[in-house]
């Protein structure tokens, strides 16, 4: 007679292979693809490895900023944090909810803030207030435009991007956000980032090379961190 029993009953149900229909913005309009449970598991494993490299470990606390409709990107992060034994808190990614981010940051001795967006950042206060709130947080991964503002404020933030259908995460080197090369191939076209499933990944075969609405550049050289995953540097308006 507990929630565990409800979940046990739910586990006995049939489950389709598809976990999500993922919608992302392409230059020519919205693009929808399906994401399977197997793909979600691979995304989680890759994300966990990135977060582990950033120093996240058992007993740490992290705050995630995200919206309910960002599940395909949030769930790999949440599952990765759970796998690492990191307790996560969650706050909306909307500017009017900045107080929630502030309360979590103030009260929970966070080791990481992940996914901080510009609308929230802009309501957290001036540079001095930002340094007081986030200056001692060991890992700050912000969305590209927010990361740029944080760096200007003297906070060495890394970049995390919900890049098309996948995550891009900067390592400690902070020379561009890594994309999982085993799953996705990224490129450039007229200053915009393109993405296509990597041959052999078995991922959404119907998706050809797609030009995203995101502008930036791609560096395919191995990173000093040791990863061969390509890195995306984002153009941001400040």
């Amino acid at each position: 007679m507990t929630r565990v029993d409800s979940l046990a009953r739910a586990r006995s149900l049939d489950r389709p292979d598809t976990a999500y229909v993922v919608r992302f913005a392409g230059r020519d309009g919205a693009v929808d693809i399906e994401q399977t449970w197997a793909e979600l598991a691979r995304d989680t494993a890759w994300t966990a490895a990135r977060l582990r490299e950033l120093g996240l470990a058992q007993g740490h606390r992290a705050l995630l900023n995200g919206s309910g409709f960002e599940g395909p990107w949030l769930r790999p992060l949440m599952d990765a944090l759970r796998e690492l034994g990191v307790t996560y808190g969650i706050a909306e990614a909307m500017g009017w909810d900045a107080n929630r981010t502030m309360v979590f940051a103030r009260e929970l001795d966070l080791h990481a803030v992940i996914g901080l967006p510009k609308p929230v950042l802009e309501r957290l206060g001036d540079d001095e207030a930002l340094r007081a709130l986030l200056g001692v947080t060991p890992v700050v991964l912000a969305r590209p435009d927010a990361a740029a503002l944080l760096r200007l404020a003297g906070i060495p933030a890394g970049v995390i991007s919900f890049l098309g259908p996948t995550l891009a995460i900067e390592c400690r080197q902070k020379h561009g956000a890594h994309v999982n090369a085993a799953e996705w191939s990224v490129g450039e076209l007229d200053g915009a980032i393109t993405i296509v499933p990597t041959v052999g990944s078995g991922r959404c075969a119907q998706l050809g090379e797609t030009v995203l609405t995101v502008r930036g550049s791609v560096d395919g050289d191995p990173c000093p961190c040791g990863s061969a995953d390509p890195r995306v540097t984002f153009d941001v308006d400040q």
Partner: protein, 434 residues
């Protein structure tokens, strides 16, 4: 005879009341010892009241001896001890899987420590309700906008549903309608701000056709007005399942009988308390919902005064379920006393919704204290259907006066202007200080 297919957990949902009470008693007795040993907040509170777990051997002992607690007491403990969990945490902090929080519409959000495996606690407590709505493996669900009580996808997916992740926040309802046409979802969660946008969209979009695949739409965050429900059900053709908080221990949903909100009393021990005597409210009478978490090892609420005014019944529902149901009558403190006369939000709502220009029911009572000399009501109107603001002002004034007996001070703003003040994915603040 109700088919067992209707229930996710037939034996539990239709459990004999005596068996349910036996389960509750066992859990409550265990819980009191567990919390006293592990929670500094409860130990301090109960010691101050001279209560020890050895005194609690039955539900009767529990109701007689264990003191009530409320959010203010937790906030006080939190401030005094610089403990983010307000002394409620019963496990080592590193054992906590996630921390969600209250909506935070009336102050700093307060934390809920959560421990889980497959899905977070709040959405897990909704699995039986989603099953009742009709959600089945392979169905599609459109993602909700908010995350403050954690990512709901885990629950939908636990039931085998596929989540269609499209932007469902304000300003994007046209995209949601298009996604509904394309993916034919079985379920969609809505909240007041989103319904207001859809009401406007219905002038140019055939929502009945777009939403024809939906087995149900849920609505939460604040009470759904009769007029809004009518629009959703009759104009859009969707079956609406309203749900509300089970005093922060979970949620309570309408079933297909739409006769009260079902509690899941294997997870919560619910009491209806007379707000004057603080004893049990008489059968059928409205009182305050007091809740005890029966399935929360992280930071259980124990005899928590919710401020929700409810009527509670344990009569078997037409759906066959035996768990208690409640009917919401409002929130303690929501009434405004205007020169001694009580005015409820419901009274104002009906007057506002009766005007075509303010059909969306977007209004706020502006007050700095509960007892006031004048009733200041801020109302949002739709400029597209408002020809004469003066005439609207006069009609509204008369309607509010007729419904409340009080001549209001009206402030008319465009609906869009007022919706910009939204500070929650679920709620539009009805009582504001400025």
């Amino acid at each position: 005879m109700v088919s067992s297919e209707r229930y996710l957990e037939p034996e539990l949902e239709t459990i004999a009341p005596a068996d349910l009470r036996e389960h509750q008693e066992k859990r409550v007795v265990e819980l009191v010892g567990y919390a006293y040993e592990r929670s500094a907040f409860y130990r301090e509170l109960w010691d101050a009241h001279g209560v020890h777990p050895r005194d609690i051997r039955s539900l009767e002992d529990f109701q007689e001896r264990i003191p009530f607690m409320d959010k203010a007491m937790v906030r006080d403990y939190r401030a005094r001890n610089r403990d983010p969990y307000g002394g409620m945490l019963c496990v080592a902090p590193e054992q906590v899987t996630s921390v969600s929080s209250t909506s935070g519409t009336t102050g700093d959000p307060e934390f809920f420590a959560e421990i889980w495996q497959d899905a977070p606690p709040l959405i897990t407590a909704q699995l039986r309700d989603l099953w009742e709505v009709g959600l089945r493996p392979g169905d599609r669900v459109i993602s909700p906008p908010g995350t403050f009580r954690n990512l709901m996808d885990y629950g939908y997916q636990a039931l085998g549903a596929v989540v269609v992740a499209v932007d469902t926040w304000l300003g994007n309802m046209e995209e949601v309608v298009e996604a509904a046409r394309k993916y034919r979802p079985a379920y969609l969660q809505l909240a007041y701000p989103l319904v207001t946008e859809l009401v406007h969209l219905s002038a140019t979009h055939d929502l009945r056709e777009a939403f024809s695949s939906l087995k149900g739409v849920s609505f939460a965050g604040q009470p759904l007005s009769r007029r809004m429900r009518q629009i959703m059900q009759e104009d859009w053709g969707v079956e609406v399942f309203e749900y509300t908080s089970a005093a922060d221990t979970g949620t309570a949903w309408e079933c297909r009988e739409h006769d009260g909100f079902h509690l899941w009393e294997d997870t919560v021990f619910a009491e209806c308390v007379d707000t004057e005597s603080l004893g049990p409210a008489a059968a059928g009478q409205t009182g305050e919902l007091v809740a005890t978490d029966l399935d929360n090892l992280a930071a259980p609420l124990i005899r928590y005064r919710s401020s929700d005014l409810v009527r509670l019944s344990r009569d078997r529902c037409g759906c066959g379920r035996t768990h208690g149901r409640m009917w919401l009558a409002g929130r303690r403190g929501d009434e405004t006393i205007v020169r001694g006369r009580p005015v409820t939000l419901r009274d104002i709502e009906q007057a506002v919704e009766a005007q075509p220009e303010t059909l969306g029911g977007v209004f706020q009572v502006v007050r700095t204290q509960r007892e006031v000399d004048a009733l200041h009501v801020r109302v949002g109107y739709d400029p597209a259907v408002t020809d004469d603001l003066g005439a609207l002002d006069e009609r509204l004034r008369k309607a509010v006066h007729g419904a409340t007996g009080v001549e209001p001070v009206l402030e008319l703003r465009t609906e869009e202007d007022l919706m910009k003040t939204v500070r929650s994915v679920a709620k539009f603040a009805r009582v504001v200080s400025s």
